[in-house]
Symmetry: C2
Subunit: 211 residues, 2 copies
Amino acid sequence: MKMEEMQQGSQRQRDRHQTEQRLLKAASELIARDGFQALGVNALAKEAGVDKVLIYRYFGGLEGLMEQLGNQLELWLGDGHKAEIVEYPSYAHFAEVVLWRYAEALRKSILLQRLLAWELVSQDPLIHRLGIARSRAVSQWFLRLGSKTPPPPAGVDVAVLNALLIGSVHHLVLRATSSGDFAGVDLKLEAIWERIRLELSEVIHARLSPP
Amino acid sequence: MKMEEMQQGSQRQRDRHQTEQRLLKAASELIARDGFQALGVNALAKEAGVDKVLIYRYFGGLEGLMEQLGNQLELWLGDGHKAEIVEYPSYAHFAEVVLWRYAEALRKSILLQRLLAWELVSQDPLIHRLGIARSRAVSQWFLRLGSKTPPPPAGVDVAVLNALLIGSVHHLVLRATSSGDFAGVDLKLEAIWERIRLELSEVIHARLSPP
DNA sequence: GTTGAGAGTCACTTTGCGGTGACTTACTGG
DNA sequence: CCAGTAAGTCACCGCAAAGTGACTCTCAAC
């Protein structure tokens, strides 16, 4: 009789690795469902169906668990990193495609959204570190996708324009899952997101296409 | 001897109105300094130098106090509502000026920033209601300032463009006070904000000025 | 003066949190 | 077969939170 098959019933299954994975998964789900505010040892242990003492034994506390969760950060972006690198006819085309890829990945990853939102309110140094890791992962993703692209036109403040564009995407996505609307626009409708995509494209080409 | 002048020392000053104002002011300062997470009856009472039972007696609890604080919401926007209504040569000029006014008012009002950020993470219906009141106040402010302005050019998705622009302003201001940087841009520098203003202006005119 | 109402004070209960010590159970290496 | 180690369970501690009851003090109306 193999060990994996027996289930004594009186106690849990005695598999450290599986318990760790349970905890990490439960943490993800808890954050995605209720946000970082709800992440406590008691709630997490209950969500995972595991005793809370194991959080301390295996991870040294919530901080350690979060740190380990953060290591899977690039995984939070979903399959976006599988995107192939193509050659774009212009920087504007590149920006348009990559920005929209990012927007779609962000919309799908509630976990990443929760982290972005929490970065705006928390002063916890751990969250700050997670934010730095997130930022680095994202910009590397951008860099990789843009490795074969023409340079942007001169005379345009590309850094600031990028910040504006990414900022608007962040804010709209975050408002979509929090209140569902923003500035009179109903972000729950899929048709609106198509209009957002179009308008982003217009803005990018209006600013970045050579006149 | 007037009642207002005596100060017995053994007990507080026996002035209900002043105590209420103390509490409201303390709540503002507490939120501005430490955020909504730090807003509890104990912390608030300590900040105001007042017994916490008075929060329940005078406001019926934190919710009531917050509600009353929310009524002063348009006051949070600072002296922005004192701005005179002028006639703009074009919709683009109007958008440029008003958007930047809003950005500057928002940068100055940490209280409003805290509310905006908290709306993104909280599921509290009270915060949701506050957000609706805030949104209404802001859009009325926009409407008032734009009462004498030419219509926007046809063929442009003005609603979505506005959401994008306001969203980017929101996000950059919020990141400025939380982490201080965004997308590789150092939001602590005043020079950067000048570049942001310029780039916003460029985007607005590129999209809204008739070609 | 007396008294009643309202402002302020204090002690208390309850509840949920993070965190820990001591225990039981099961597997493993010798 | 036995002993040690590791997984899991349980009860508990200290603490800070929200909220409440009962008290004192002060003034004003009569």
